[in-house]
Every structure is written in C-alpha cells, then in structure tokens.
C-alpha cells in the first residue's frame, strides 16, 4: 500500500466512514480531541484484534478487549518488552535501556532493587508526609477563583512526591516535571521541535542525576531511589544510558500517571453529579472511588510488545516480530468484562479489576503509592470543600501514550455554612 500520507490524515470522527482495515487508532490528534472512543468501540465490536498495516509507527496490531489484553500481558514469553513499551519505535542511536523494557531474567533483578522504595512497608511510613504536603498545597489554593488544577495541584503534588523518593533538591523539583514531559512528548505537541532537542535535555537530566549518584555512591546507603540504584548489586554497574533509562522510567512512571488520575477524578466527578453527591454524603467511598478513577482515566492508554514467535490471538495469526499494542484505554471500557464501563461509579463492585496498572511481571510497581496519593487528596478536599468545580473544557495532551490533561480550569466551592 502506498497511500500512507492520505491514510494518516485525521479523518473527522465517524469511525464507520472508514473501511475497517484502514482504521489507525494511534493518531495523537484523536487523543488531543478526546474523540478516540468510538474508534475503539467499533474495533471491540467488529475486529477486536485489529491489524493496521500502515501508520506513523509502521504496522501494528491493536488488542482492544479486556481478556485478550490480559492474555498478552501475562504471556511475557510470547510477547517481549525488550525493544520498548510504547507504539513509537526507539531511536536506534539513542537507546535508553530501562527495566520496564527488558525481559526476564534481567528485568526481575533490576526491578527488585528499586521495588522496596514503593513497597507497602515504606508507604506506611510516607503517608503522614504525603498528607502534610497535600494539606499545604490545598490550603494555598484560592477559594472561589478559577485556577489551573493541573499546574497547581496535580503536577505540584506528584512532583513533590518524586523529589522525595529521589531525595532530589526540593527547590529544583520542576526539572523533574520538565524531563518527564520531554521524555514522552510528541514532537508536534509544542514542547520541543526536534529529536536533537529531546536528546540535549535528556543528557542534561543524565548529568544532573550523575552528580546525585556520585554524591551518594560513596556514602552509606539511604532509603532514596538514587542511593538504592548506586548501591544495588544488580544496578551499581549500570552504564550511563541505562541509568538514564531507569531514571526516566521512574520519573515518568511516578509523574504523568498519577498527575492525570488526580485530574481525571475531578473531570469524572463533574461529569457525574450524582456520584459527587454520593461522595459528599459518604466520604468512606473514597476507598473504592480511587481504583474507579484510575480505571476511568486510564492514564497510560497503551503498552506495546513484540511477538517472539508466530502465535494466535483472538483468531488472528500474529507473526514473530509483529508489534502488538495493548490498548488499556479500550479494555477498561470493554462491556463484556466490565458492567456499564462508560459510567463512573464510585462504589463499583470489584473496582480494582481494571487494566490501568497492567498485569504480570511488568505490573505497575508504584500502584499503591499512586492510590495512596489520590486517596489522600480526596480525603483532604472533601473535608474542606463542597466540591472542585470544572469551569471550562479541559485541554488534552496530544499523545496516544500518556492519556491526560495539559490544563483544567476549576474553582473550589466552599462547604455550605
């Protein structure tokens, strides 16, 4: 097929106006316009394991239903992470090895080194720190005035948390936000214009973190992530690019994701006033609301694998070497796996049974930390305010990977006296 250019043009929003075999769900414009939903709906109904022969990222399979995604995610022997975990192929001159993009056994060994920092025992110790910071942030917000939730709350809180986990110089913490954004941004999204610019900023990130490493490698181990990497048996001899890769993984993993679930919760509650009312009447529902927010938002839209051998999936023949994209964002709205999946239901039964963290050996390491942060934010908000009210349309990020918000204008509504 030679009509790539035509096919990749954004085609409005009628998925039935396009022949099935030409559907490419990876177009970042659709995520920016938040109108990708009916495209996945069509694939789930008509072609749940879908081959797109031609896209910006080459040919790829889309896996759109919950059970098929679960199958791919849990068969890490058949579906490798080794060459990257997003639909975009890595730039071969600038490969950043990181454990999320490794197979066994190396994956397990490296992950085990850093796992404890977000393990449940450590989290229990961190809860009071997180709560203090949440309260400080919330109490600094204007009441009754419109402000940007993304910047003032979502970014600020997740960045503070990351700075703590890395023991990163606190005043310079927004560097973490910047590097996280730079690592994942699409070139046409407005942050940077060329891959060279991306490399230059990431090298800056490496230099900064190399200084922190050098500071810590000669000291006794402390509980922060950099110290853990510098002293860990399986990580202390990492090459610079591998160190950078793992730093980026931890920054992106702990930043973009929780940030967008913190914002997604505000959007979801505003779209479902009955659920907001239910929450106001019973704050104990926050516990089940948190996984529901994470499902509803699905802050990472997909993860990708490469087939390691010829195999069958959903009746389709996948060839060795094929790119296979698991669309978590679609599986989380699969009506055959989740009842009324488009509804946001804060007391949903079995709310934890969602795909946002992935399943299997690559399952999100920081899931409990993310849940804890979101829980605390809502506990402290609902104790002080009637609601966080959305004052205008959100601006969505132009990316088929990081599914989230650039801005969200909101206003805090005080409790009725």
């Amino acid at each position: 097929m030679n009509n790539t250019a035509e096919k990749n043009v954004y085609e409005g929003n009628d998925p039935y106006a396009v022949p099935l075999n030409e559907i490419d769900v990876s177009l970042p414009e659709r995520f920016e316009n938040n109108d990708f939903w009916p495209w996945f709906e069509r694939l789930r109904k008509e072609d749940p394991v879908h081959y797109c022969s031609d896209s910006e990222h080459g040919a790829y399979w889309s896996v759109t239903k919950f059970q098929d995604i679960m199958y791919v995610d849990t068969h890490h022997d058949l579906f490798s992470s080794e060459t990257g975990i997003t639909i975009a192929s890595q730039d071969e001159d600038f490969v950043l090895p990181m454990f999320i993009a490794m197979d066994q056994p190396k994956h397990d060994v490296q992950r085990r080194t850093v796992n404890p920092v977000v393990g449940p025992m450590n989290l229990a110790n961190m809860e009071s720190t997180i709560r203090e910071r949440v309260i400080t942030i919330i109490e600094s917000l204007p009441v009754g005035e419109t402000f940007d939730w993304v910047d003032r709350v979502a970014i600020e809180l997740t960045t503070q948390m990351l700075a703590t986990l890395f023991d990163f110089p606190f005043e310079e913490r927004r560097k973490l936000t910047r590097w996280s954004d730079i690592a994942t941004t699409n070139l046409d999204a407005g942050l940077i214009e060329t891959e060279d610019e991306r490399r230059a900023e990431l090298i800056e990130c490496l230099e900064y973190f190399t200084n922190l490493w050098n500071e810590r490698v000669n000291k006794e181990p402390t509980g922060d992530l950099i110290s853990m990497l510098a002293h860990g048996e399986s990580t202390r001899n990492m090459q610079p690019m591998e160190y950078l890769g793992n730093i980026i993984l931890l920054i992106v993993g702990g930043n973009d994701t929780t940030r967008n679930s913190l914002t997604g919760g505000v959007v979801a509650l505003n779209e479902s006033p009955d659920q907001y009312e239910k929450l106001r009447n019973d704050h104990s529902l926050i516990g089940s609301m948190v996984p529901e927010i994470i499902r509803w938002q699905t802050p990472l839209a997909h993860m990708r694998r490469i087939a390691t051998e010829d195999t069958e999936l959903g009746g389709k023949q996948i060839k060795k070497g094929d790119k296979v994209v698991m669309w978590y964002v679609s599986g989380n709205r699969d009506e055959t796996a989740i009842e009324n999946p488009d509804d946001f239901i804060i007391d949903r039964k079995n709310a934890r049974h969602h795909l946002s963290f992935g399943f299997g050996i690559h399952r999100c390491m920081g899931n409990r930390l993310a849940e804890m942060q979101i829980r605390i934010v809502w506990e402290e908000l609902m104790a002080r305010f009637h609601s966080v009210q959305v004052m205008g349309e959100p601006t969505y990020i132009r990316s088929a990977f990081v599914k989230g918000y650039a801005h969200l204008p909101v206003k805090l509504v005080p409790l009725e006296s």
Binding site: T74, R112, P120, M121, R352, F357, G360, M365
Partner: protein, 106 residues
C-alpha cells in the same frame, strides 16, 4: 469440605468450611475474609492474593510454577513460606490448612 483457616495480620481468625473446585483465593473472597485483594481475578498476574503458609503445610502444597515464582519474586513482602492463593486449588487434602495474611497486599 476441607476446613481452611485464614489469620489476618491483626490476629483475627476466620475458620472456613471451604467449597472445593475453586481456588483458595476464591474461598477467601466468597467468605468475606478481608486482606485479599485479588485484583487480577485469579490469573496469577498481580500478586495481591498473597498468603503465608503456616507450619509444615508449605511442603505439602503443589509446587510453585514459573509464573507464580515470577510474581512472588517481585513482591516486597515475600517470605520463605509465601504463596499466591489463586494458585492453590481448594481440595479435601487441604483440610486443616492455616494461612496467614500479610499486613499489606502489594
């Protein structure tokens, strides 16, 4: 019906006359034993149905397969007697089994 005892981290005991033909994880969930999340629903892919096997029961249980080993290996709360309860079938042979629950499910 085998009797299976779950002991919460707090020490609270739940003695269950367990159904057979389901997993030990499902026995806990069906009987409202708190402390088992089972996020993945029994697919050995989340490690949130983690239990510790009391006494000499550990050696009597079926062996840990590669997937369970992988998932346990990434669990920071793992002990030498850890298992994932979704991988244990509830059978009459398990009569008297005692399982301790961890403080947190990771």
């Amino acid at each position: 019906m085998p009797k299976i005892t779950f002991i919460e981290h707090s020490g609270e005991k739940h003695e269950i006359e367990a159904d057979t033909g389901i997993s030990v994880m499902e026995v806990a969930i069906n009987n409202g034993v708190p402390g088992i999340d089972a996020d993945c629903g029994g697919a050995c892919s989340c490690a949130t149905c983690h239990v510790m096997v009391a006494g000499d029961w550990f050696d009597k249980l079926p062996e840990i397969d590669a997937m369970e080993e992988s998932m346990l290996g990434l669990n920071t709360m793992r002990e030498t007697n850890s298992r994932l309860s979704c991988q244990l079938d509830s059978t009459d042979e398990l009569d008297g089994l005692v399982l301790q629950l961890p403080e947190f499910q990771g």
